[in-house]
């Protein structure tokens, strides 16, 4: 009787471990934690190719959809998503703000001249600290913002499917 209980307990234990490990097989091995950041952080930043600085509250001040896109000229996936951003910028209901991440200004300028400028404003993040204020991991990364709140964040490059999702939001 006692042996039987021990035996069934061991079987249950191994089944439990098996189920957990089996479920883990299908998970992505890149864990992205759920961040608590909901409202946009306050910061001030230089504007690209201009000498003045601007506060975050002066940029995201309209009751309008904004897309903050973190990019850099050295980032290859940014090149891939750039045409999509150009296309999205034709939509009147959304304003795209760029955050240039740890970049050489000449290279960034070339990048914009070559591929076009979808951004209404480009902010500068020379040392990467502003991106961290946003809770970002790296480039490219985009935040959909409405009424000073982060509606959705996109880690990695945007694709056609995600652009459709954004268009659905701003309808």
């Amino acid at each position: 009787m006692r042996n039987r209980i021990i035996y069934s307990l061991i079987v249950i234990f191994f089944l439990f471990v098996f189920v957990i490990l089996y479920k883990g097989l299908s998970n992505s091995n890149l864990y992205t934690p759920k961040a608590n950041i909901k409202s946009i952080p306050e910061f001030s930043s230089e504007i690209f190719l201009k000498k003045n600085t601007v506060n975050s509250s002066d940029i995201f001040n309209k009751k309008n959809y904004y897309l903050l896109n973190i990019w850099a000229s050295w980032c290859l996936p940014c090149r891939d998503e750039h045409p999509l951003l150009i296309n999205l910028s034709k939509n009147q209901k959304i304003e795209i703000i760029g955050l240039n991440y740890k970049d050489n200004l000449n290279n960034a300028n070339k990048f914009i001249n070559e591929l076009g400028n979808p951004y209404s404003t480009i902010l500068l993040d020379r040392d990467g600290t502003k991106a961290i204020e946003w809770g970002a991991f790296g480039v490219p990364e985009s935040f959909l913002i409405y009424d000073n709140k982060i509606v959705k964040r996109y880690i990695g490059p945007l694709n056609l499917k995600l652009i459709d999702e954004i268009k659905n939001y701003i309808k």
């Binding site: 864990y31 934690p33 759920k34 991991f137 790296g138």
Partner: protein, 119 residues
């Protein structure tokens, strides 16, 4: 008077150096406890990724601004969640994590005691 000034300058120089040493130690301690979220199995202290470099700078700036260790952790948890800490804090999500080893220890101890008493 000149000698006094000289000593004063030396004293100030040395005291600020000690302060800085403390700050560097704290910075090291904090960044060792932060997980580099885009690396695999590396702390921010060990990593040279863009993310880790910026995070080190943030920690350094916050220490200079007078933030305490706990305040720095709290501000980073707000942005990246508890996952960024290697040493998770005690709260209702981590009770199980913190108390399970103690429970297992007590349980094992009880079994051993029972066996000894039997003999």
């Amino acid at each position: 008077m000149k000698l006094l000034n000289f000593f004063l300058i030396i004293l100030i120089l040395f005291s600020s150096n000690f302060l800085r040493a403390d700050e560097i130690k704290l910075e090291k301690e904090i960044t060792k406890n932060l997980r580099c979220l885009i690396c695999q199995g590396q702390s921010v202290y060990d990593s040279d990724s863009e993310f880790a470099i910026s995070l080190k700078l943030i920690v350094k700036n916050k220490i200079n601004e007078g933030f305490t260790e706990d305040q720095i952790y709290k501000s980073l948890i707000e942005k990246y969640g508890e996952w960024i800490l290697y040493d998770p804090q005690l709260n209702k999500n981590t009770y199980f994590l913190w108390f399970l080893p103690i429970l297992i220890f007590l349980f094992g101890g009880a079994i051993i005691l029972k066996k000894i008493n039997k003999h």
